[in-house]
Amino acid sequence: MTEHGAREAVARTARNSYGRLLAYVAARTRDIAAAEDALADAFAAALRRWPETGIPDSPEAWLLTVARRSAGRATRSAGHLAAARPVLDLMTEEAMDRAPVDFPDERLKLMFACAHPAIDRTVRSALILQTVIGLDAARIARAFVVQPAAMGQRLSRAKTKIKAAGIPFRMPEGDELVARLDDVLMAVYAAYGLGWEVPGGVAAGRMGEDLAGEALYLAQLVAGLMPGQPEPMGLVALMLYCEARRATRRGSDGAYVPLAQQDRAQWDAAMVAEAERVLTAAAALGRPGRFQTEAAIQSVQVQAPRGQSGNPKVLAALYDFLVTRWPSLAAEVSRAVVHGAAHGPERGLAILDAMPPDRVTGYQPWWAARLDLCLRAGDGAGAEAARKRAIALTDDASVRSWLAGRG
């Protein structure tokens, strides 16, 4: 076993199984911070041992055994973990011989514990992203547009509260389950968004596609658990629509391809069909929600003929519904674009101009939409100003060159 091979195996296991391992260790102690330390220690032990001993048959089981012992040790003698390293290395040999074959997936319990009403509302989704999805605080802070240090403090305070206040790791029932669902779905959705936006590279140790796939899997897990709830299904459908056309949003040269110009023949037809099926099942429950509405928008877009956007009047109505009930900057900008298509660019520009200036000056999609609408309205000066800002605000080179070429 080469050191490189072992390193790869450790990295792969971290990507695939971090959340599942953390949830399993933390569910037993309710101590997320200690579980994180124990897991970090187990991964460090793997980096030391696997080059010599080879990759175990079940890397997850190996790591779990080491992490659980490390967690136990930490509770007995907090702060002396470093001194225990040599012992830990020896124990790992033993662990390989009789590691548990399988362990239950406790991620749902962990997600719902993080969404407990006793946890500060503003940190619940972020906490799920960190513990279950394994994102670092800096990246979460970017996603939620707050300072990394502040986010780190809020996350660690929340973890302390879970442990000190004795918040249990269990699946809530009835109304309680429904009340916590929003925060869980928001976290899964944010993870998917982060995976989607990564410009074709590795960020913070996690590939975008890994994140998107994991988010989809978690959404399906939640939907499976709550068959009577339409919103988890709405989220699953939304992600499936996006996944179906993931490959086509870049040309072979890596250039950005807007939706209307994407090669529909390359969309994953099975995924689209599954998205339609899930969305229909959700709609049949007769309780529309944010994710169902966003999925419905995707459905309209996907059904449009090649070279065109979806029916602008239908899209405008769906976006009106969306922003009235679940307002967000992103939805309002998209609403301006579809109203521009349905009722002329002036109408779209009016919607953009009505948005709070201090919130949109640094928001790239607002400037990109403005560029588009100004061009269509024949406002050359407005278009150039918007183009400059939109280009300056993205760090994705292919989006930059696409914006530069618009005329």
Binding site: A164, A165, G166, I167, P168, R170
Partner: protein, 120 residues
């Protein structure tokens, strides 16, 4: 785990304790609640407290002892009593807190008791 559940009641509740027309209902509700906790075997300790007018506030400032009458007059809900209960987790403690008569008219705070080993 041990939790202290701290009951805060509006002044009107304290008045009910003495009012012949209302005291039966008031004490009956508390009696039933405490009876249920006793039956569940979760009470570690606990007491009701006499009304806030009987309270005295003590502070040491700049070497001087300041003594004042009564609790904090601008607070809408006053401390009425407390129990320390032994239950498995926060959800169980919240459940017991929510069953108390104080939860209907005032508020109940749920606090984990500091583990003894933290004092060492």
């Amino acid at each position: 785990m041990q939790y202290m559940i701290i009951f805060r009641e509006p002044m009107a509740e304290f008045d009910k304790r003495e009012d012949p027309a209302q005291q039966g209902e008031y004490w009956g509700a508390w009696g039933a609640y405490i009876g249920a906790m006793r039956e569940a075997g979760i009470i570690v300790k606990g007491d009701g407290l006499l009304p806030p007018a009987t309270a005295t506030i003590v502070r040491n400032r700049d070497g001087a002892r300041l003594i004042e009458d009564g609790p904090f007059p601008d607070v809408k809900e006053q401390l009425g009593g407390y129990f320390v209960i032994e239950v498995p987790d926060l959800d169980a403690a919240i459940d017991w807190a929510g069953r108390s008569p104080a939860a209907l008219v005032g508020s109940v705070e749920v606090r984990p008791v500091m583990p003894a080993d933290m004092l060492l």
